[in-house]
């Protein structure tokens, strides 16, 4: 039973992690919290729904298209909504993200309706492991999340634009003085975050077999919490935070009552933040 709950928690946590990393990238480079991230994730899930349920195509294509759609959405939002706002302080862009989240959610509701839509199951086989039932799907999802995170690290650590992102994150002005094109860096950072959000949406749609216009709200909140928990600007921290939140929630359900799930999850987060205000793996300096 314990093992089963840990497996449940890790799968759930890995899905929170994809959302959390998006927050980290955006905050790390642009110093901006985006409340529209949950809705990007929802749009990704809908791309997955159309590809898999409506057109009947295989899931890797759904994942690829949702990531592409996330990328394009990210590029456009950054260009149209944030770039003109760069010099006016933190508040206007923050409010814009809230506005964007409402627009995206309501636009989907108005055009496609508010009901849940089905997504087909894949990899339903299960493996028995010491009393716990692990589905092949859970393993596949964990694998994809790991691959995406490794890919992201390679991009940030190994490419020129990745280096520019890290430089901008450490010191915006110095980076600009050294010839880093901040507009481009911000654009790519936001697009990357949205790409991961889109991927997360598809995986969640597959995992729960349903997508809906309102699915982004709670996911965004949990991802944001994991991001703060982990230290705001640390990718490994966000992943760790997300996994801890996922496992804590499931253990709370098992040993207390399901109603306490969010309370204990957030309580653990608050306690950790009191002890370590910079978060689990956060530091004073931004590292992306």
């Amino acid at each position: 039973m314990l093992l089963q709950q840990i497996v449940n928690g890790l799968t759930q946590g890995s899905l929170y992690a994809l959302v959390a990393i998006g927050f980290v990238i955006v905050f790390g480079t642009m110093n901006l919290v985006t409340f529209a991230h949950g809705e990007v994730y929802m749009l990704g899930a809908f791309v997955g729904y159309f590809v898999m349920s409506v057109w009947g195509l295989p899931w890797p294509l759904a994942l690829a298209l949702a990531m592409a759609a996330g990328w394009i959405l990210g590029v456009l939002t950054e260009k149209l909504a944030f770039r003109p706002m760069r010099t006016v302080g933190h508040m206007p862009p923050l409010l814009i993200t809230i506005g964007l989240s409402i627009i995206m959610k309501e636009a989907v509701m108005v055009t496609l309706g508010a009901e849940n839509r089905p997504v087909p199951s894949i990899y339903e086989q299960t493996v028995q492991l010491g009393g716990a039932q692990i589905s092949l799907l859970q393993i596949v999802i964990l694998g994809i999340v790991v691959l995406l995170i490794v890919g992201l690290q390679l991009f940030i650590q190994g490419t020129k634009i990745g280096r520019a992102m890290r430089a901008t994150a450490q010191d915006y002005e110095a980076a600009c003085a050294m010839g880093v094109n901040a507009d481009r860096v911000f654009n790519i950072a936001f697009a990357l975050a949205s790409l991961l959000g889109g991927a997360g949406g598809v995986l969640v749609g597959i995992y729960y077999n349903a997508v809906s216009a309102t699915m982004g709200g709670m996911a965004g909140l949990k991802g944001f919490a994991a991001c703060i928990f982990g230290g705001l600007t640390s990718i490994p921290g966000a992943i760790l935070g997300a996994l801890i939140i996922g496992v804590t929630e499931n253990l709370t359900v098992q040993y207390l009552a399901s109603g306490y799930r969010d309370i204990i999850g957030f309580l653990v987060m608050v306690v950790v933040l009191i002890v370590r205000p910079q978060g689990l793996l956060g530091s004073k300096m931004r590292v992306v």
Binding site: Q4, N8, A114, E115, S121, S135, Y208, N209
Partner: protein, 374 residues
């Protein structure tokens, strides 16, 4: 000044022409509708609206109510208690509104209830099934039947009819879910079953693997899920994925929807519920409604919520026809309603202004809803 007179005259002419061309001899009669048209419950609210529009068109095509067209003034509550209370303020202070329908959840209804009560305006909820809702105010009416009745019916179904002895319960933590769960458990215990576990979840939770794993640990032979069909389908899917098959799943009529089958697929096979509305009802008026509804709903069948919304507006129109447009007269006439036959069967108000229902035994069989013998 002159141009204003000209405009007023022109507008008056247009109005007269418009009215005479439709054959109306009076102003429209306005009935307020407080419903979740957007937000988490918008699926149910828009279903209501579609069903009610069909009813209103039908009534107006037959000449309206005493020559006056019936019109619905819809306000979006999101089924949020603070919005439904605000809408109640708006409706009660608008003299054109003669009565109101709504809201969707018991919680939203009960938040608005004191306002309707103080102002003296009828609040007829198609779906509030909390047993304390209607008795609380002279102006409140519920037509879906209460959880006291339905919970008992489902408990008998589980324990007496299907012989289950160890029951686990999972319910949504809101006014409705709590009432549904309490009345079910009370009767199940009276019937001799053992309640081995009770758990709840909050609205908007989408992951039930944790709580299902826990419930499974108590080894029940039946699981009662007091929830709506969306969550019910998610739960069933996740239960299937956990490999938990040796349990019979029961739930109230809120699960009865084509959507449950679509979302749940093979995982809802064998799920048992009750309903007061059946797609297969052979009465011509029911089939006519189903046809009209499908035409507006991308070919998807109406669910129980749509059917009962249709009944609600029909009852209201009948009442206004008899009582006129005075708010108090409408209340008194409505309270007398007996033997109404609608999409959801035959019913009349009790002294508590709610109704006793005849439930059907339903089960999902080969991917479709099947009716069992009583």
């Amino acid at each position: 000044m002159k141009s204003r007179i000209v405009w007023t005259l022109a507008a008056a002419c247009v109005l007269v022409v418009a009215c005479t061309s439709l054959g109306w001899t009076g102003e429209p009669i306005s009935v307020g509708l407080s419903a979740p048209l957007t937000g988490n419950y918008s699926e149910y609210g828009t279903n209501w609206k579609k069903a009610m529009d069909i009813a209103v068109e039908k009534i107006n095509a037959k000449g309206g109510i005493k020559g006056r067209p019936l019109q619905i003034v819809a306000e979006d509550s999101k089924s949020d208690p603070k919005d439904s209370a605000q809408i109640a303020q708006k409706f009660t202070s608008d003299p054109k509104i003669v009565a109101t329908l709504g809201d969707f959840t018991s919680t939203a209804c009960m938040a608005a209830q004191p306002i309707y009560d103080r102002a003296g305006l009828v609040q007829l909820s198609p779906t509030a099934s909390h047993p304390e809702f209607a008795p609380k105010s002279q102006w409140s009416f519920g037509i879906i039947g209460t959880q006291a009745e339905e919970g008992a019916f489902m408990a008998d179904y589980t324990v007496k009819r299907d012989g289950k002895k160890k029951v686990a319960v999972l319910y949504i933590n809101n006014d409705w879910g709590i009432a549904a769960q309490q009345h079910y458990i009370k009767r199940a215990k009276e019937d001799g079953a053992e309640i081995v576990a009770v758990e709840n979840y909050f609205d908007r939770d989408k992951d039930f693997t944790g709580v299902l794993t826990k419930l499974r640990g108590s080894k029940p032979d039946a699981l009662y899920i007091a929830t709506m069909y969306n969550d019910g389908a998610l739960m069933s899917k996740q239960r299937e994925k956990l490999g938990w098959a040796d349990v019979a799943v029961f739930g109230p009529g809120s699960l009865y929807s084509p959507k449950l089958l679509e979302l749940g697929g093979s995982s809802v096979e064998g799920l048992r519920t009750s309903s007061i509305f059946m797609i297969t009802d052979p009465r011509p008026e029911v089939q006519e409604f189903i046809k009209a509804f499908k035409a507006r709903n991308n070919g998807v069948d109406p669910n129980m919520f749509a059917a009962i919304a249709y009944d609600a507006i029909t009852i209201m129109a009948n009442t206004i026809e008899k009582a006129g447009t005075d708010r108090k007269a409408i209340r008194d006439e409505l309270a007398k309603m007996q033997n109404f036959v609608g999409m959801t069967g035959k019913f009349g108000f009790t002294e508590r202004r709610d109704v006793k229902r005849d439930y059907h035994y339903l089960v999902v069989k080969n991917g479709a809803w099947a009716l069992l013998d009583r």
